[in-house]
Symmetry: none
DNA sequence: AACGATACGTATCATTCGTTACAAGGCCCG
DNA sequence: CGGGCCTTGTAACGAATGATACGTATCGTT
């Protein structure tokens, strides 16, 4: 494990000359943001010259200033993603490994929904509720089950819900039916499947509105998508976690249920009576 | 009070052209750190050109890119000073209803894993890891996607994984292949489907080991099952939530991955090389 | 189907940034 | 009191960044 910038400073601040120590102290006082600004600004804040800042950074063991900034950014990213995470679960039962999986899943879910704006969410929900456009749902190897889950619910709430199953080659037949008013809902997380992206591109060419659910690295399908919602998938496991995507699907199911409260209820009664 | 960058985006994202919208979406997905990097890096991440990033920033109301970065830095500074409010996107996030759905999902997950004993969990994991027995997975209308999700992962880790898809009538053909050493993994939550229970009973008669994942009211299949794990499904929505079941599947995937660390790794390499 | 407007990317420019060489200043030791 | 080392700032260089002009492609409109 690389030592953090703060640790490096603590180790060497005693051997630093006066000017560099002032740099170190101002960095600690405004940690870490002042280090993300330019050398000149950092220097001015510390009331030293630019070269002193660079010598200070070099003494910490960094090759150059951009390397130093990259280290700070990485720390910040890690900090922004999981400060209070490990305290959520009282974890006394199931195996320790399972507990950490659960923790990260919960944290992913929380993080994901903090990044989704109300506007974005309701725009997607409205689109999914519009019965005038057909909905085509599909996903990659591991995300397709979530597409199925969403499709199974939406199909009860509205007409025109089609899940694109099986081989990608067979989807192309459906392309002919897809038009400007229609909507392709794609789930795509790493590793992104080229077949899915190809299909999305062809659909986009036909004017189909594309809604993409993906991970934080964002599938290439985003290029063609009208709406993109990204979920966190980080996990201590060998596999990424799709739990956040799953909960996202459930919240959308709820939203569509509310939007179509009247028509949807009648429709569901009809379906029930047909059993 | 100046509007935050996130608010500015939410206000204008609908009027943005496609390229700038992609910039907005990638910024939201990696908020706010990607905005602190250079224009070129931001552009590459969003798969647009540098000028598009600058136009995007201009549309948000900033005079130039450094101004935009300064705004992000200021928000970040304010946030870092009050660690209690670690809301990354300070805006009104997803609608209140969505928030309660998320909360209840998280609560379900927590509760579920508090009621699963380590012994029970590892017994199931070991059973799923045993390559000598074939695994047949299936589920009900809404839970079948979770069975698929589990099957998709297990199929990469071990041989003999079969997902029973489609019509229940076609499953009966598989019954002939199922023997004492084999294993049926059933997902069944309200409203329990009689066809699935019938099939489970027939399989049990043939000596098949049955592992049941169900809700807190416990499916009738439990009568024939060797292992039963129940998850919480309570939700403020019109639908039950399967999020806890989903996370349970993911923890089992992780456990099986660990148990089959050596053979599983080789197998996955083989599969990869066949692509 | 042709037009017009809008949006996007390529290429280029000017600026700013990080970097480095060098000289001035201060401090300790002889 | 003077010499050598360490430290620091000034100044200049080269690289990389942000900004812009322009041509092309795309979309919607008539």
């Amino acid at each position: 494990m690389e030592p953090s910038v703060a640790e490096r400073i603590a180790d060497r601040i005693d051997q630093m000359p006066a000017g560099e120590r002032r740099a170190a102290q101002t960095l600690i006082a405004n940690y870490p943001l002042i280090g993300l600004r330019t050398v000149a600004e950092f220097a001015q804040q510390a009331e030293v010259s630019s070269p002193t800042i660079l010598r200070f950074v070099a003494r910490l063991g960094f090759q150059n200033y951009p390397d130093f900034q990259a280290a700070l950014q990485a720390e910040l990213a890690a900090q922004l993603q999981s400060p209070l995470s490990r305290t959520v679960m009282p974890t006394k039962v199931a195996p320790a490994e399972a507990a950490t999986i659960v923790d990260s899943a919960v944290e992913n879910i929380r993080e994901t929904f903090q990044h989704i704006s109300a506007k974005q969410f309701s725009a997607v929900a409205t689109r999914l509720s519009d019965p005038r456009s057909r909905l085509y749902l599909s996903g990659g190897r591991f995300s397709d089950p979530i597409a199925r889950y969403l499709a199974a619910h939406l199909a009860l709430l509205r007409p025109g819900v089609v899940h694109l199953a099986g081989q990608e080659s067979t989807w192309r037949d459906k392309l002919a039916d897809m038009g400007k008013k229609d909507c392709l809902v794609a789930f795509d997380i790493r590793r992104y499947q080229t077949g899915l992206a190809d299909f999305a591109e062809k659909a986009a060419r036909r004017g189909v509105t594309i809604i993409l659910f993906t991970d934080q690295w964002v599938s290439p399908i985003a290029r063609f998508a009208r709406h993109v919602i990204s979920a966190r998938t980080a996990s201590p496991s060998a596999w990424d976690s799709s739990a956040a995507l799953f909960v996202l699907a459930e919240t959308l199911i709820d939203a569509v249920t509310r939007e179509r409260a009247d028509q949807g209820a009648k429709r569901m009664q009809d379906i029930e009576s047909l059993r």
